[in-house]
Symmetry: C2
Subunit: 131 residues, 2 copies
């Protein structure tokens, strides 16, 4: 498979696939003309990383998960630990965003949104500078 095929099948841009090779996730063979030749295994691994990334795992998480994925004798507990930590991180991000949302929606609701210069949003952000 050439990079274009793999890109289409994995859903990852070709640029990203080259990047994933750069950082060592895959090591595709090369054909005589210098083109990368991807195996099914490469495709699998790329799709794996794509899904893991979309679930919020970092690249370093993916590296860990890939190693566990490749190690047929790994303990599921190791994987679960990585996943659980990710869950904690996600919860923290959601909580932070909800906090932001609350403050901001309050400000938006208070703002008349007309032609007048009075704006509770800016007042709240800056305090009134010298009246």
């Amino acid at each position: 498979m050439n990079i274009g095929d793999v890109a289409e099948r994995s859903g990852l841009p070709a640029k990203t696939i080259r990047y994933y090779e750069d950082i060592g996730f895959i090591r595709p063979a090369r054909s005589a003309n210098g083109y990368r030749q991807f195996s099914d295994r490469d495709l699998h691994k790329l799709a794996f990383v794509g899904r893991a990334r979309s679930l919020g795992f970092t690249i370093e998480d993916c590296r860990t998960l890939l190693a566990l994925y490749e190690d047929r004798g790994r303990a599921s507990a190791d994987v679960k630990l990585v996943a659980k930590q990710n869950l904690v991180d996600i919860d923290a991000k959601i909580a932070g965003l909800q906090e932001m949302r609350k403050t901001l929606s309050h400000l938006v609701a208070c703002c008349a949104g007309d032609d007048r210069p009075d704006c509770p949003i800016l007042d709240s952000l800056g305090g009134v500078p010298e009246a």
Copy 2:
């Protein structure tokens, strides 16, 4: 005020304040020794940006908001628009994270988390590679 005072009072690291000068948010005067001299107005603006950033506004949003903040004749509608767009973005981020959370917590719940190599998390991410 020197940068250290402003850093303490605004809650922003000195490095970040220099960066905000770089990108044109402030233009502090310099004293004879080359040290930045910050006015109260600079402090205000920096605190403003700090609060806006913590509410999820991007640097470019902050630039817009600062311009509106400095324009005594601006319409509150302009500000409200920026804020509302930000709210939409925040909602999208929350929804995405909740989707992730759902998938991931399901996987974590399914995983035995013991010494055995069977792991629904990895299976789901990769599909079983050659049985």
